[in-house]
């Protein structure tokens, strides 16, 4: 499955539903693509393979959101940040399970995955979030 699955964002979230953080790796130049893409953005090759990423990383920057669009209104205030995973790739997401005052740049976080609910509308992707490692 993993070798032939399309290198798409949809597939990234399908793997998330299986509890895995997966990226595309270019067989030609070795670049790891996160989000996965159908073509390598460094050498334009489409000879790719899936590679699983570690779920741990370091917080690069963060904010506490107080004004949100309608679908996130019920969560405010909430923290979001950008995390650099162990292999150097980055993902943004919510930071949960920690008091806002204790969030610090450089702290160790890990990805938790919430399985997707059966969505009535597009898209039916799972949510992942970060929590203290």
């Amino acid at each position: 499955m993993s070798e032939t699955a399309p290198f798409t964002i949809e597939q990234f979230y399908k793997f998330m539903n299986e509890g895995k953080v997966m990226a595309a790796k270019c067989k030609k130049c070795g670049t790891i693509l996160l989000p996965p893409r159908p073509m390598c953005i460094k050498c334009h090759s489409n000879e790719l393979e899936w590679t699983e990423l570690a779920k741990r990383g370091k917080l690069l920057t963060y904010t506490i959101i107080h004004v949100a669009p309608p679908q996130f209104q019920h969560l405010i205030p909430y923290a979001v940040g950008i995390v650099k995973l162990e292999n150097g790739l980055k993902l943004p997401g919510m930071i949960r399970g920690i008091e806002f005052e204790k969030i610090k740049i450089g702290m160790e976080l890990q990805i938790e995955i919430e399985k997707a609910q059966q969505a009535q509308t597009w898209p039916s992707w799972p949510k992942y979030y970060f929590k203290p490692a």
Partner: protein, 390 residues
């Protein structure tokens, strides 16, 4: 050597910026076009204007797309080619550049470029959602990262790396509100104190209400000609001598760093090279202060100071109206307002006024060279233009 003119501004128009109730985008644009036509009676709109390029970000606000044809009709320019450019908040910076390229191609002698957005009739959560569409959907929007949130991520990183303070951010708001008071077309013509800005409610920490630009209705336009014929229409043309545009990853999380905008630095490099000028030559500038941190980062990306010294530059008063490099004399996006699609050419409108001595109470003395810096979304697009008095 100073670069040769690419195209020339012979006239410009701006609607009142603010909460303009009851007017559709197309009607706002007609007001801006009317001012441009009146300012330059030698232009016969029906006969002379050969094409229109219009920046407009979102059809969601009015449930109305196909902006090119719509506003051309309302501006009394029916049947000319009319094309919308969309680069989020840099939509009319891109329209300006499209107009310059259309003139330089030799296809047209005279074109109108402009921008429009009608936003205030929608609720703040709705506008927050529409603006977020200029950011990455599957990773940023999907996880609740708002547009202010993206700039807050940059602010936190800038504060952490360089020691930039919330006070320095607030100083940008104080300056731009002061300038806005001198601009009768500004949305917010009210001074704000440092204390008030710092104690305003949090939108996306560390950004507070007064760190954010306004949700505004407005339209702007310019009439561009081939440089050789500009003097036929006006004694006071403004030549565009540098134009740069660049892009970056739509998701900010993919970038190498969050303390500068690579697209803005690249666009600036192109524009300075074309103009044969350096940052030291710029005498007045309009920069994209969608958030106060964005103005600090703009100083650095445009080379007005070294990376990390933007906070110091505002603190030292360099960019105030009586400083050595006044920035956002119009009040900026912060006080003049930010009808997103209209912003790029509204910035050019202000520089046109400054270089032709028409900026009234906020006129900077003896300015000949100006710059505009227009950023789309969270920096995935940037345009930079450099202007010289003709």
């Amino acid at each position: 050597m100073i670069g040769k003119p690419l195209a020339s501004i012979v006239s410009a128009g701006l609607s009142k910026f603010g909460k303009i109730e009851g007017l559709y985008a197309r009607e706002l644009f007609a007001l801006a076009a009317k001012e441009a036509f009146e300012r330059c009676p030698n232009i016969d709109p029906k006969k002379d204007v050969q094409a229109l390029f219009i920046g407009h970000m979102g059809e969601s606000y009015e449930h109305q797309g196909h902006t090119g044809a719509t506003v051309a009709d309302w501006a009394g320019l029916l049947h000319i080619p009319a094309t919308r450019t969309e680069c989020a908040c840099a939509s009319s910076g891109a329209a300006l550049r499209a107009g310059i390229m259309a003139i330089m191609s030799g296809l047209y002698d005279i074109v109108m470029v402009g921008g429009v957005e009608k936003m205030t009739h929608r609720s703040t959560p709705e506008v927050t959602e529409f603006l977020a569409m200029a950011s990455d959907f599957p990773f940023e929007q999907w996880h609740g990262i708002t547009f202010p949130g993206l700039y807050a991520l940059m602010a936190t990183a800038h504060m952490h790396k360089y020691g930039t303070t919330e006070e320095q951010l607030a100083m940008v708001a104080v300056k731009n509100h002061h300038n806005g008071c001198l601009n009768p077309k500004a949305h917010m013509q009210r001074e704000v104190t440092l204390e008030k800005a710092l104690s305003s409610r949090v939108i996306a920490w560390p950004l507070k209400l007064y760190d954010c630009s306004l949700i505004t209705d407005g339209a702007s336009c310019l009439i561009l000609t081939k440089p050789e014929i500009a003097k036929k229409y006006t004694d006071m043309p403004v030549h565009i001598i540098g134009s740069g545009q660049a892009s970056d990853s739509i998701g900010i999380y993919e970038r190498e760093q969050f303390t500068s905008l690579t697209a803005a630095k690249e666009a600036a490099k192109q524009a300075y090279k074309m103009a044969g000028l350096t940052p030291n030559d710029i005498q007045v500038a309009e920069v994209h202060d969608c958030f106060t941190i964005a103005e600090i980062i703009a100083y650095e990306d445009l080379g007005f100071c070294k990376p990390g010294e933007g906070g110091k530059l505002i603190e030292e008063g360099v960019t105030t109206l009586d400083g050595s490099l006044p920035v956002n004399t119009s009040g900026g996006l912060k006080a003049k307002g930010h009808p997103v699609g209209a912003t790029g050419t509204a910035q050019a409108y202000e520089i046109y006024l400054q270089l032709t001595g028409q900026a009234e109470k906020r006129q900077v003395e003896n300015v000949e060279i100006g710059l505009t810096h227009n950023v789309g979304g969270s920096g995935a697009t940037a345009t930079v233009h450099i202007y010289r008095r003709g």
